[in-house]
Symmetry: C2
Subunit: 415 residues, 2 copies
């Protein structure tokens, strides 16, 4: 079963936005057992959209179109789809009701263009959009399936998860696919490959192992295809057990969850609390933690001390320490961690101080120098990292490594 | 002059990586006056690459291919290109020298596959890669130009900037493309469309208007093509002026920058400082601000007070206020803003307290209820928002609206 993704919108072709939708959709479709043949981005142009639809029809069984469903006149996707299918438009009452509700909630006047958003193709099943005004559409045509979705990411995601994937699964008899993920940290992908090469070489042909590295963590994903789910699951479980035994020191959890989420679960289960003291990460660590629902049962809060003055006044770092060793030093970062622990009364604390760049580097502390400390009532552990020149990556790597240090200490303290 | 970008690599089609190269290349090409007709991602598959090359040749004058130039055996781009052009390979001595240097620098053994990286197409001009082992190639064939580049972002970027763009500019006499962006906040795209429909209807055919909405802000982008830049710029400037006059209350800035970046620039110019007190956004506001280099000249830091205890101890919110009105209330959020301003000694402060969800809602304060306050030494302005049910969006909308409130107050205080 092959799919093709077509994204429509000039904003992608002039490079104003990065197309993150396609990667997300590709992931979800892959998990459901559907291979992506091609991803195509075209402009808001009738002829070009028609060409893309025709070519995709030749190559794929499922064509998913995103973007170009907004109320303004630069959106011509719907009209062009009607032309492609030689069909007309109908007003969908439920979609109209939804548009009306959204406008009345925000006390905005309902314009004619907004009413038109409730128009769908005559030959489509409406996919009601609970997060926005533009409904999605599911069209079966000449033995192929076409899906049209709004381009706003969270609207698209909702419709994919709630409507599209379930419909695909119930329409086609796809092979059983089972994925099992092992989250590792602190070891590179080639080192893992070396450690488990015999296990990998011995995999049966219907089970594959993928390495998914991302800034300090590597996910190992075992994926199998079979007709019997029970057998497949027990096969994969046995392989996973062998891998985990081999690289036990680096395994965080056997699940496809984010590192910080597995830490939150671990701490919640043990009734432990966390606070932070962030300098160069500027809120990124806290934001990473608090994006997860329920994080408030573990995470109390913390200080963002971009200025040295605030390191002193909020965290009790001594002026003398900063003067003598600098803000990016083992002394300062340890005082920050202890300060957060004491002032904010948590069981654990994390502190980060570094030079994210692109400016601010000095000779013995170039851009990318980052100190991280983790503390509990009995000890402080700190470590120096030397990352690269890129601000965004330095911030991300700092956050990941702080979380890894915390998780290691947690496991030591509370196995 | 039309271009097409083809990215090659299974990792894009299984959603393992987000294709950021294409957006970057599209931006650079647009700035040089080249329109992107299509962006296509295909797998490491000979037939599919050939099809993509043939179709791109029909649509575009310039075809840029990235990815698939690595040393491992699954990279078949170069072989397939040779087949497409009916040409052979030659060893490029300079490229080989470069490969050897890199391997000796990292003290790695030079394998046969690495030597092969210095092979280029017989009909190509070699684009020497100073940042990696895979050279780029520039091929002129049947009045079209083909460029093959490595997929590693910083290698691709270097070759684009130093080799490809200069060659394109010296080869073609390109039309001038000019974009002008108006950043608006606090008004929906359909309301804007209604307000300026006569201006939009009267646009000359060589100037287009696009609406780019994103959680609370809408970018209006005027794009024009012409042979004379001066004339085009004054045409677009006149149209922009009319639009800005019509929707003056909602215009943040006439530039294609992020909202928080325009605030940072505005404050830096006026020597103003900012601190924050974040509850439900949990660091997202700070992270949004500090992602920008140089933010430390404006942003001092702040408190993340997820727990009520920390609202009291860090920001001086009174226990009585929280007890009587709750943490999500005008009283609490104003005390948070004043607390940050006083304790952290900044010119402005922002405070956010709300229920991000999915849990924690109560009858008179459902999920999505968010209070935001902005303060300076003379006043506190607060506003209640009622967003939806989705945590991530509630956090993002809170951040955007806090920034909008700050910008409005800044403009009032320091026009």
């Amino acid at each position: 079963m092959l799919a093709e993704i077509i994204t429509i919108g000039d904003e992608i072709l002039i490079g104003q936005i990065v197309d993150t939708n396609s990667a997300w959709m590709a992931q979800k479709l892959n998990e459901a057992g559907i291979r992506i043949k091609q991803i195509t981005s075209v402009s808001d142009d009738r002829e070009h959209i028609l060409q893309a639809l025709n070519l995709a029809t030749e190559r794929a069984d499922l064509v998913i179109i995103t973007g170009g469903l907004g109320p303004t006149k630069d959106d011509i996707t719907k009209k062009t789809l009607a032309e492609f299918f030689k069909t007309t438009m109908r007003l969908d009452e439920e979609a109209l009701e939804n548009v009306k509700n959204i406008f009345s909630k925000y006390k905005a006047p309902l314009l004619e263009v907004n009413v038109q958003q409730a128009n769908v193709l005559e030959n489509s099943v409406t996919l009601q959009n609970k997060n926005g005004t533009a409904p999605g559409m599911w069209i079966e045509h000449n033995n192929k399936i076409y899906v049209s979705l709004p381009g706003v990411p969270f609207e698209m995601m909702y419709l994919m998860e709630e409507e599209v994937i379930p419909r695909i699964i119930s329409t086609y008899s796809l092979p059983i696919i089972y994925h099992h993920t092992i989250l590792t940290a602190g070891i590179g992908e080639s080192m893992i490959a070396e450690e488990i090469s015999d296990i990998e070489d011995g995999l049966p042909s219907h089970i594959k192992l993928a390495y998914l590295p991302k800034l300090g963590v590597v996910r190992l994903r075992l994926s199998g295809y079979a007709s019997d789910k029970e057998i497949l699951m027990s096969e994969i479980s046995a392989i996973s057990k062998k891998i985990v035994e081999r690289i036990a020191d680096y395994v965080i959890i056997e699940a496809d969850v984010a590192l910080e989420k597995s830490i939150l679960d671990y701490m919640q289960l043990r009734n432990l609390t966390l606070t932070v003291a962030e300098s160069c990460t500027g809120g990124a660590l806290s934001q990473t933690i608090t994006q997860h629902p329920g994080s408030s049962s573990v995470f109390l809060g913390g200080a963002i001390t971009y200025s040295n003055t605030l390191k002193v006044s909020m965290l009790g770092v001594s002026n003398q320490t900063i003067l003598q060793f600098g803000a990016v030093s083992v002394q300062t970062v340890e005082e920050m961690a202890k300060g957060a622990l004491t002032a904010y009364h948590s069981d654990y604390s994390l502190a980060i101080s570094g030079i994210a760049g692109p400016d601010g580097g000095v000779e013995n502390k170039p851009v990318g120098t980052v100190w991280i400390a983790v503390a509990n009532a009995n000890k402080v552990i700190s470590r120096k990292f030397q990352f690269g020149n890129r601000r965004k990556q330095n911030i991300e790597r700092s956050v990941t490594n702080a979380l890894i240090m915390l998780f290691k200490l947690l496991k030591q303290d509370n196995p």
